[in-house]
Subunit: 252 residues, 2 copies
């Protein structure tokens, strides 16, 4: 029997507001869509709705840009208040060139603009931040689904990141609960009995990328359900395992 | 109606040998599995079987290592002949540290070991190279499927690449035919009528990553079919669009 995996976009979510119970919204929206969330399913939730529900939205009117943010914004035609929020969300600037800021966030993610983003927000004068602790956000959704439906799911919170060397952004995992972010093939052998070379696969990132295909940036599909992917139920969750330690990274 | 995408592993492929007609093998294997390949499907094929079919396999006994390869192999406990093949497949060495060689291949891919790989080969004394022109390989499979079944599919050839900053490898596209590797949202607006920030998504990479979930490194599932992803049929194919030009890259 061939392994078959399904990705289903959960459509028709209402606009998410600060304080909303995201697990309840997802369960209700799926139910209206006559989509049963089942044991072993994986919910991939875009960072944007998580940040909105957690009130991680900043009004630009409340931001006083630093001289650095002012100068940079002026030089590259960007709102200095937006630049200021990016700098505040960064714990280390990796590159700051040609109007692009690549930095390391407090969580340890290396990405453009520290995950600060102005799209898909009802108010044009606001920007969203990454969740404070996206792994905890994922765990909250997971336990919220468990409480409501009595099923165990894994949850991946995704965001759209650019990357070095390759054009085009891809969705990656910024929060994980209920499964291991990495799948480790060490000790296993290939179909010829030889040890596998590439031994560790970032399955949480692959799930985030896969789910993006079933979402739609233009309409409102902020959650996708992945069904049929066989993950280890005892997985520990968390994105720490996805963060390469500086001393291991050839590209710090 | 929610967008639903399916990924189905094509199992039971015979061992692929040099000169094999890969399109014929895929069509026959899918048929034995009672899986109809339909118009608009996407076939994701791992590089390994493409390289085997194209005879891109090198016997280490035929390789004379250079002094550089000898010294490096000795220093890090690697077969100097394997190292030599990596150096030959590289047009530029990006990093050569702690036993890891990151280089740019002739095609312009930046990856570890220039895509040279010893796993999933019947003979332990051989290594596989990337296809000479993976976009052309993808196009051959695409037209082979068209000739045999009269259906138009897109084809993505995938390989497993590590990346800077994040642990764990993911599958990415090294060959594309029948669709655009990038999906460009420029000019479109979000659900609030505001322009989208992240405008270009590397959907070919996301398809490769998604398909990996339906494959299995240990058993023999070198091909997956993706059904239900709505791509532009007039897409031009090719992976050139995925290669960031050096002058645009903050991480050369």
């Amino acid at each position: 029997m061939p392994q078959s995996i399904q990705m289903i976009g959960i459509e028709g979510m209402p606009e998410v507001r600060a304080g909303d119970d995201l697990a309840a919204l997802v369960v209700d929206t799926a139910s209206r869509q006559r989509l049963a969330i089942c044991d072993g399913d994986i919910l991939v939730v875009t960072q944007k709705v998580v940040s909105k529900a957690e009130g991680r939205v900043v009004r630009l009117a409340d931001v006083q840009p630093s001289p650095l943010a002012l100068a940079w914004g002026l030089a590259y035609g960007r709102d200095p208040r937006h630049v200021e929020v990016v700098l505040r969300e960064s714990k280390r600037i990796i590159r700051m060139e040609r109007g692009i800021i690549v930095s390391e966030t407090r969580h340890g993610f290396k990405c453009a603009n520290a995950g600060v983003d102005a799209s898909n927000l009802p108010d044009a004068e606001t920007v969203s931040l990454l969740p404070e602790d996206p792994d905890a956000s994922a765990e909250r959704i997971r336990s919220g689904v468990r409480v409501r439906l009595g099923v165990e799911v894994a949850v991946v919170i995704s965001d759209t990141f650019g990357r070095p060397w390759r054009e085009g952004a891809v969705n990656v995992a910024v929060g994980v609960a209920g499964m291991d972010a990495l799948r480790d093939y060490r000790g296993e052998v290939d179909s010829h009995g030889r040890p596998l070379r590439t031994t560790v696969i970032a399955v949480a990132d692959e799930l985030a990328a896969a789910a993006e295909l079933a979402m739609n940036k233009v309409t409102r599909v902020p959650v996708a359900l992945v069904r049929g992917y066989d993950y280890r139920r005892s997985g520990r969750g968390g994105t720490r395992a996805l963060l390469r330690q500086p001393e291991q990274d050839l590209f710090p």
